[in-house]
Structures are given as structure tokens and as C-alpha cells.
Amino acid sequence: MSIVLVGLNHRSAPVEVREQLAFSDEVCSHSLRQLVDGELLREGLIVSTCNRVEVLTATGKGREAEGTARITSFLSECRPLAPDYFHKHLYSHCDDDAVRHMFRVASSLDSMVIGEPQVLGQVRRAYSLAVEAGTTGRVLNRLVHHALHVAKRVRSETGIAASAVSISFMAVELGRKIFDSLAGRTVLLVGAGEMAELAARHLVKAGAARVMVTNRSNDAAERLAQEFGGEAVKYDALTDHLAAADIVICSTSSPDYLVTPDMAREVLEKRRNRPSFLIDISVPRNVDPAVGELPNLFVFDIDDLEAVVSSNIREREREAERAELIVDSEVMQFQQALRAMDIGPTLGALRQKLHDIAKAEMDRQRNRLGQLTPEQEQAIAALLTSTVNKLSHPLLNHLRRSYETTAEETLSEWRDAFGLDE
């Protein structure tokens, strides 16, 4: 069996091509059943996300080119698209390259943002759709399970997903560095900007218990507070609110500093020096930089956050190099597993078949031999066994050896010749 993959991703194709080719869940099963004919393409799976469409199939040995052409024409058949429109964006991989590509996709090494966690779920989803459609078999089952295993290894053994690479998620990550857990923490939003809202959403998802919103316009504060199940608080009692909050996100358009060192000292006093974390994503800044020099107050402005994000991205890229090594070694293991999976049962079944034939012949002739002593019975059984073994030995050996040097077709020829699959 060979593995053939045809696809396009965010690097090979612009979004207007990707969106044309995307498969929705509903269409996916139907398309898979169309694609997998059991003859040329024996197994199939489609991973379709906003950044990629990957068609993964299993085909016969030596029929990779045919399979690739079949998938490509399938893609143009199921979309009202001129082939030239997207053909130049497609890539195709066979065998080891296809396996490696699949492992990299599942491990999020091929993602736009390296290490993003969603793609693993998308691969799982694609697999369960294919299982429902009945288009997976020995090869793809094993491939997908192996890919999930690789993704898990990469995630736990490298730091590709260790640090936040978006400003809004940075709030959660830094929050976790300061407070052991975000559970039960209080968040204060000063101003109702979009980015502040996103950061607050992440914080609530990470366990923050209470959200307070304050804004010059009370209406906007009320509206935002309602979304989080939080409360809108008065804008003029800012110091009190600052003292009540563990994490503060400022995003107003105020031209002056809203949080001054004097205020911050008062806040520290009220908080009995418990640490607090101020995120200032407004330009011009809302928090006086001198506030950051006070003990137990941690102030990050937009530039600080961006600097951390870009250093995290570089860190992920470094970690990705280590992840590639893991992928390489797993690709080798997969190929070995795939081979072992095929040769063992075939040889066993072949030997059994020959013994069965000998035994059946013996049973047919047995009554012509008349009464035999137990020794004679044993001698006949031994004669049959050793004859079959001696005859089949060179054959099986040859099969095993030729299998090592990729002559997989001979294997299925022998299977056919002896009717092992009937």
C-alpha cells in the first residue's frame, strides 16, 4: 500500500482559493464516499480547516501518480472550478513525505501560528467523519493514531505551545506567572476597547471569578459588564476599584495618565501589598510608567506585550526545530510498523493454508491405509508437516526478503494465488 496526500494550505494558496475548496462537515462524508472507490483509492480522509484542505488516501503500490491525478480531478469535479484556478496551489506527497506532512500538520508545525492547539482537534474531527463514512482502513487508522501520538509527544516534550503568542492571551500567561491560579481573581476593565474585551474573555475562561467594568460612558460599561456577568462600577472611584482588582486592563482614549504613582501607592496600601497586575494597552498610555517601579505592581504596556509576544514566537520557532527531529524519528517508526503489519499475517496465513491442503488430502486418503499403529500415524503426520515446511520454507523466505526491498505487489499476488482473502 502507498499513502498519497494532495492538499493546499495557507502558504500555498490565498484565502480566496482555500475558501472555495473547503469541505463542510456535511459535504465531507458524501465526498469521501465518492472519492474512495475501493479500487484505486482504498482509503480516504479529508482535513478541511480555514487554513488548509488535505486529502489523504491509501492506494496500491506503484499507483501513486494515478492516485494523485484522481484526487486532483476529484477536487475539480466536486467544485464548479476551473482546474487551472487552483491546480497551481496544490502540493502532493507520497509515502514517507505524506506521513511526515500529516504528522507535522497534527503537531501544529505546519500551522500559521506554530503550536496553536486547534489543529489537533480538527484532525480528530476529520478522522471521525471518515470513520463514519466508512472510508478508513488499516493504513489510515494506524496513520491517524500515530499522528495523534506524535502531536502529543511534540506538545509534551518541546515548548512549541508553551508560551502565549497573542497579546490578549499574554494577559492570561503573565497572570499565571504572578498568581498561582486565576481562579477566583478579580478583573477590572478600565475603558471598553475591543482588545481589552478579548483579554478579559481569556481571563474569564481561565477562571477569573469577577469582572468589573468602568468607563467614562456608563452605558458602554453596562453593556460590556452584562456580557461577562460582571458589574459596571463608577468611574470616579477608580482608586477603590483598582484596590479591589488583581488584574487591571486599561484601554481608554484618555490623553493623560489615569493611574499615577500616588494613586498606586494608595492602592498598595489598601491591598496590603498584595501583588497586582496592570495591563495597559492604550495609546497614549493610561498608566504612568513610574508605577511599574513600585514593589508588587507589575505594569505591562502595549510595547512590552508585543516584545514578549515576538520573543515567544522566536522561542516557538526554536522549539519547532526540536519537534522536527521527533517527527523524523516517528516517520521511520511508522514505516516499520506499517511493513510489519502487512508481512507477518500474510506469511502465517500462507503457511497455514499449505498445511490445511496437506491435511485435507491426507484425510481423503486415510481409509485406504487401513489399521495403523500409533507410531505409523505419527510418522505420517511428521512426514506431511516436514514436507510442507521444507517446500514452503524457500518460498516464505523469499517473500520475506523481497518484502524488505519493497516488492509489496508480490505479496498480494501470492495472497490472490492462494485465495487467502476469500
Binding site: 509534551s156 516534550e157 518541546t158 515548548g159 508553551a162 508560551s163 503573565l174 499565571r176 506567572k177 504572578i178 498568581f179 498561582d180 496590603r272 501589598n273 498584595r274 501583588p275 511599574g292 514593589p295 508588587n296 507589575f298 505591562f300 512590552d304 516584545a307 514578549v308 520573543s311
Partner: protein, 275 residues
Amino acid sequence: MKSFLILVLGAYIVAAVHAVLAFLNKRRILQRVSWLAVIAGFALHSVALLSGWALEGRFPLFYLPETLSFLAWSLVAAYGLLLYRYQAQAQALGSFTLPLVAALVLISIVTGSHANGTLGTPGEIGRGWIFPFHTTALICAYASFFVVFVASVMYLLQERELKLKTFGAIFHRLPPLTTVNDIATAAATVGLTLLSLGIVTGMIWSSERDGKLWHNDPKEIFAALTWLLYLLLIIYRASARWRGRRAAWLGVAGFALVLCTFLGARLLGGYHDFG
């Protein structure tokens, strides 16, 4: 007995190396190896200490080698308790503590081979419960203060990075600020309690023997200073006037005093100069 300690040392070295590697290179398998080695080392070490006690017929805390070995044991015990309480967050403590543990056991083995029996015998002072209690409490107090020290260093490293907004490779491996802060506070409280018990039992024992509570010996003076410093630390932490960086610096300074008490007094001589 000694070959047994070498086994213990081997386990601790494996644990320390893997803990440091796990700290530098986030791999769960390394961490797991480290844990298994710590568990094996700790079990063997406990057996070694108990059998030493049984064989010699006296509490094994008199000579320097024994003391170092017991100190190592109590550090591992403290690490185990922290792992139990803070789980993965306390992992990083191992990479700081275990190398010291291995070093202590090594020194204990090396000095044990020629120091034994040269410094007088424990004689009658080893009997009764007060003297063993005195030494055990103090060694455990030193171990607690070491935990305070490590947690304080972790706090300072991390606070510095947060203030400067440049995050090095270790940043992501260190436990959160509030966690190290909690660990330091808890360990300081335990340490101060044990230190107080150690000092009080020392006084009782001394007054029974010599009729004097206090000998003005360097070790006693340092112990008193240490006691005052940690009391100050706890009071300040509790009153919330000092949290974070300042308290952490005090935790580091306190450990310097502890080192003076434990080792310095030995060099300066005086009443406590045995073994």
C-alpha cells in the same frame, strides 16, 4: 553501612542530574526518572539512618558526617512535602535542592571515613530524649530555612524578569510568584518553630548538665540572631508591610546567618565544638 550510603548517593545523583535536565529541557520522562530516583534514594537513606541508629545504639546525630547525612535526608523530606502540596509547581525546587542533597551525602561519606571517633565520644550526652530532640529539631529547621532561601531566590529571579520584561529560558520553568511566596512563608514559620524548640531544649539540657542556660558561645549567639531575623521576617510578612521583594531579600540574608550558625560556629570554636 558506608556502601549503603554510596547507593543512596548514587540515587540522589541520578535524581539531581535529571531534575536539572528537566528544568533546562522540559521533558516529562526526565522528571519522572528524577522522582523515581528520589523515592528510591529516600527509602534507602531512611533505612541507612535507622540501621545506623540501631547498630550504634545511639541517636545518629552527633558527628559531622551523621549530621550532614541527616540534613540531606530532611531536605529530601521537605522537597517531598512540597511536591505533595504544590505538585508540578514545586518541581523546579528539586533542581535547586537535589544537587545540594547529593553534595551533602558525598561530604558525609568522605568525612565519615576518617573523622569517626577522633572527636571524643558522645558518652552520656547521647542518652535521654532531650539531646536527640535538640539536634533533630535544629537540623530540620536548617532544612526549612534552605527552602525559604531557594523560594526567595526564585522569587527574586522571577520578579526581576517581570519588572524588566525580558524573559529568559528559566522564566517559564519557575513556579508563580504567589506560590514561591507561600512556600517561603510556610517554610519560615515551620523553621522558626523548630528553631525555637531546638533552642529551648538546648537550654533545658544545658541547665540540667551545667546549671547554665547560656554559654555565650558563637553558635548560640548566631542562633539567637537567626531566630530574631526569621521572627522579624514572619512578623513583617504577616503585617503585610513587607511582601514580595523585600521579604525575599530577608529570606536570602537569613540563610547567610543560618550558614554562619551551622558552619561558622564550628570554625570559631566554643562550647558547641564537637564533631
